[in-house]
Symmetry: C2
Subunit: 148 residues, 2 copies
């Protein structure tokens, strides 16, 4: 991938249909990423009302999808040296902690950080915060690199 620090990107090629980040998926979340450090990716997001569970509160599964996106992008930070398209990573274990209500219709900041790569395992963590910097939901995950 080797996105430069400070660079913003969106996946909007013809095959980018991923529910989370594919800008060709009209019914998806269409997350836009920004690499903010060698080991961290962020995304700003404002959730539409149809992503809610309880009224005004973003559904826990949608929060999981948003976090899975930035954690996955952060996981790819561990493979800057590899050729584009050669790194296939999948989520293996994913823990979420819902601490405060995550509201729709307000600016949210999603952040994912790469912790370490151990063989084929990639450990990441992240959070959803509100505009005041309050932590709403945190997550940790283990991703795994598929054999190519």
């Amino acid at each position: 991938m080797a996105v430069r620090i400070g660079e913003t990107w969106r996946n909007d090629g013809p095959e980018d249909t991923c529910f989370g980040c594919g800008h060709q998926n009209e019914q998806g979340l269409k997350v836009v990423f920004r690499r903010v450090a060698a080991d961290a990716v962020e995304a700003r997001y404002e959730a539409a009302p149809h992503w809610c569970g309880a009224p005004d509160i973003v559904h826990g599964g949608i929060q999981a999808a948003l976090l899975d996106e930035v954690l996955g992008a952060a996981a790819h930070c561990g493979f800057d040296e590899e050729p584009d398209g050669s790194v296939n990573l999948v989520t293996v274990d994913f823990q979420l902690h819902y601490r405060r209500p995550c509201r729709a219709g307000v600016p949210l900041l999603l952040r994912g950080e790469l912790l370490r790569v151990e063989g084929r395992d990639v450990f990441v963590e992240g959070a959803i915060r509100d505009a005041e910097g309050e932590t709403l939901t945190t997550a940790e995950a283990r991703w795994r690199r598929l054999r190519s």
Copy 2:
């Protein structure tokens, strides 16, 4: 709630807009539940292509949303004796383990089971299985009853 064992239900009242189970949410998952035991709820589901991450594979966040729905329904099994509408439960901690690819366009069986209620905490677990009974994704969660 006090849904009888063997009973199928869908949340299709005018205020049922939840992304996961609200049949008034045109852009939601529209899960339909069946209580299969005193402590267990199941749902059959076939995911549309737009819920995928990688092609044909249901996005990890959508799998989380599906599991959150059946785990939440199972959590409510602990409160059969309470009046309808008096029990408000929210997800607090949620762990997912993605074991095998969960495919779109094929029948999936979602299952949630109530483990125990401890004060305001409700412990549940569940899984997504395919038509052959193969376990694709498992989950455990702690829900919490809100003070009314």
